[in-house]
Homo-oligomer: 189 residues x 2
């Protein structure tokens, strides 16, 4: 009773392969081989290759949306909201490194759910931008173009999946703190 179904096993194996070569370059035969079965057997558990991609990406995107809604509705200062966003990315990314690769690089291959994904992503960026803007308005954050700040911070957080696995001994709280310091206070003395 490990509670892990064959379908879930297929999805996590697929995410691992998608991270290495991208969705389009991974064939159902590649996936089957990694599972130790034949390609046709996969279809007893999943409906299509596309369904695997959807399962990986949409659940992650919704996880970010929920996290952002919680942060946004809090009474924290803008800087504290930023710190919580950083913690959110560290947490989700470390729990699903392979899935994060698909979320970042293979979302354009979504078919039926592409527009839904794009709406979630746009909303997330807008919420993030609003936090930065209100931080500027209240004097908490320097008055530099919020667009450049948003881009700089968000791309760093979105790329965490590339970097976390390389340092397996890293403490996640420590990583969140280092990132907060670097992204918020800068790197010079």
């Amino acid at each position: 009773m490990k509670g892990i179904t064959r379908k879930e096993e297929i999805i996590t194996t697929a995410a691992k392969l998608f991270k290495e070569k991208g969705y389009s370059a991974v064939t159902m035969r590649d996936l089957a081989k990694a599972m130790g079965i034949k390609a046709a057997s996969l279809y007893n558990h999943i409906n299509s290759k596309q369904d695997i991609l959807k399962a990986i990406i949409i659940s992650l995107a919704e996880e970010f949306t929920e996290g952002m809604q919680l942060i946004q509705s809090s009474n924290d200062s803008c800087i504290d909201k930023l710190k919580k966003i950083i913690e959110l990315h560290v947490k989700i990314s470390s729990q699903n490194i392979y899935g994060m690769a698909s979320l970042n690089n293979d979302w354009m291959h979504l078919e039926e759910h592409l527009k839904y994904y794009q709406r979630l992503r746009d909303d997330y960026e807008n919420d993030f931008r609003d936090i930065l803007k209100s931080g500027i308005a209240s004097g908490e954050i320097i008055d530099i173009k919020p667009e450049v700040m948003l881009f700089s911070i968000l791309t760093t957080l979105r790329s965490l999946y590339l970097w976390i696995p390389k340092k397996e001994d890293v403490n996640l709280d420590e990583l969140s703190n280092s990132l907060s310091q670097i992204l918020i206070k800068g790197i010079n003395i």
Copy 2:
């Protein structure tokens, strides 16, 4: 006498398509259609699909290597070297937005030239890390894990191609300055 050959036209058109869907998802028929010719005609100018990818990626990687060598051999302070690296990324990325997408996302599909690319990339990261470390040693840069700093700054710079085209009116010097401020001095008051 525009000096732009048909081969170059194919490569830039391919880079544009690779940015949208990735190398693996773009077929030679897609590329031919975008050029207004038939797929077979492409082979009068290029040897293979793989050769196109190599042409896009390797020239860009070498451009970064040359830029880094120039910066490294200068007598600037570490902070000034960092500013020059930021300018280097802004300059190259703005000149070849589409190629930067392949450099970032499709390098793993290089065949013959994969190891060469990886060596250039590793060397670049090592040079970057050395600059940060000597900045820490000299007291110019705060003593936080250089690995987290390197990751944070470099992923921001590597993702510039995603963001530059969205703001066509942006002044590149202004962008370099904003980025320097944000990445080096942080965003809080």
